[in-house]
């Protein structure tokens, strides 16, 4: 991307304010062997519902009507394939046919295109269907040129969480172990849905503050059940929790590894010595304490692997 991407689309994100060094370090501002003039050799498109500070950096800004991202992506997929699209359908997205034709032309003629999509796409109406549509569009673009898509990850090591869960369980998030083996079903095992339905009867929160970010019914359920929080600060969630344990902040006082959003692991170089234990140590000790207790099956024993005899 840094070396070759000459067509960069930011969709539903505001990198100028949320990922300030993304432009300079990884994308549009970089000069490379293949793009020697740097910014001049690259085209940047921004798709968002309103004008943010990132607009200034963009060559083309497409202001899509709120909640119409999925429609826009579907229209683009049709236009890319040369299929018929009705005028009313385009009008609904708040854009014109000329703009979209131009965009499709640029997408097809670039050498290496990239979609970066943010929460403006993946967390608004349509949610994961929007992300899926954009990923499909990127895949389909490969019939014409090289095209990739990548989510703009927010908090530090959320990419690492995906990677670690995939490695340990085979699934990236929304996993249930309640049959003794991992099952994946977002919507059923994803936190907000789980809390809003009131399914879980205890919560262990680490490196997150759902008390500040989740919808009220979910927070209400967190208040009802015993909640345990591990965080470097007393957070909104700590205030409604039964147990709060202060831990050392990662990368400042806690060593370890963090994944960059392109899934590159980075070693952390802590500068300070914290008076608090690290997350890793606390969770390991809780694990050890639980291992002392009987297993959760009624018999209190670990399930045995069934082997066929003979």
């Amino acid at each position: 991307m840094k070396q070759r991407a000459d067509f960069i689309v930011y969709w539903g994100g505001n990198p100028a304010e949320c990922h300030p060094r993304h432009f300079t370090k990884y994308t549009i501002m970089q000069k490379s062997k293949f793009l020697p003039r740097g910014r001049k050799d690259r085209t940047m498109v921004l798709v968002d519902i309103r004008e943010t500070k990132s607009v200034k950096a963009a060559d083309i800004f497409l202001q899509v009507r709120p909640g119409k991202d999925f429609e826009l992506i579907t229209i683009l997929r049709a236009l890319v394939k040369g299929q018929y699209v009705a005028d009313e359908a385009i009008a609904e997205t708040g854009l014109t046919r000329e703009t979209l034709d131009d965009l499709v032309h640029r997408m097809k003629t670039c050498k290496f295109g990239c979609f970066f999509f943010g929460m403006g796409l993946s967390m608004t109406r349509g949610k994961h269907m929007n992300s899926a549509a954009l990923l499909t569009l990127a895949a389909e673009m490969n019939a014409f040129t090289k095209f990739v898509a990548m989510p703009m990850r927010g908090h530090g090591n959320v990419t690492g969480a995906d990677v670690i869960m995939r490695w340990q369980t085979g699934f990236p998030f929304g996993i249930s172990f309640n049959r003794g083996y991992p099952r994946y079903n977002p919507g059923e095992f994803s936190t907000v849905d789980l809390l809003v339905r009131g399914d879980c009867d205890a919560a262990f929160i680490i490196g997150a503050d759902p008390g500040a970010t989740m919808p009220q019914p979910a927070i209400d359920h967190l208040k009802r059940i015993p909640t345990i929080v591990l965080d470097p600060h007393i957070t909104h969630t700590s205030k409604l929790a039964r147990v709060h344990i202060t831990t050392a902040p990662q990368g400042i006082a806690a060593p370890g590894t963090a994944y960059r959003m392109d899934e590159l692991p980075m070693p952390l170089k802590p500068a300070l010595k914290s008076p608090y234990p690290t997350d890793e140590e606390v969770v390991r000790r809780i694990n050890e304490a639980i291992a002392q207790k009987p297993f959760w099956l009624p018999e209190g024993s670990q399930p045995q692997l069934l082997t066929t005899i003979g």
């Binding site: 090591n157 700590s238 959003m261 969770v283 809780i286």
Partner: protein
């Protein structure tokens, strides 16, 4: 007092995880984060090695780490369907421990990704 410098430190505030930050620090705090952006600078300078908060709280009461771990283990063990959630602002090593925790409990494991 002269400051110690850590070269090419990693910033974990946002998903960019910039790994070229030079940190000027003493024992207590980081004074300067070279090459970090506005968000990164705030992140590094606002965390100190001071003991600002109690080690652990149980029902709002200050307590020792050992007791808090014991209470937490008890709560999680008693629960029928415990949820392990978050995992963003922490290291991969801790995340692995969390996966083991959810597995051992027969609970739910979920991250910010699903939000």
């Amino acid at each position: 007092m002269s400051l110690q410098i850590i070269e090419n430190a990693t910033c974990t505030f946002c998903g960019c995880v910039c790994d070229d930050i030079n940190l000027h620090h003493d024992d207590l705090r980081i004074h300067k984060a070279e090459r970090a952006c506005v968000l990164g600078t705030a992140w590094f300078l606002n965390h100190t090695a001071e003991k600002k908060y109690p080690v652990a709280l149980v029902d709002g009461r200050e307590t020792s780490l050992d007791e808090a771990i014991e209470v937490a283990a008890g709560i999680l063990h008693e629960a029928d369907m415990p949820l392990v959630y978050g995992l963003s602002n922490t290291t991969c090593e801790a995340q692995k421990e969390c996966a083991a925790l959810a597995d051992q409990l027969g609970g739910i494991l979920d991250s910010h990704t699903s939000l």
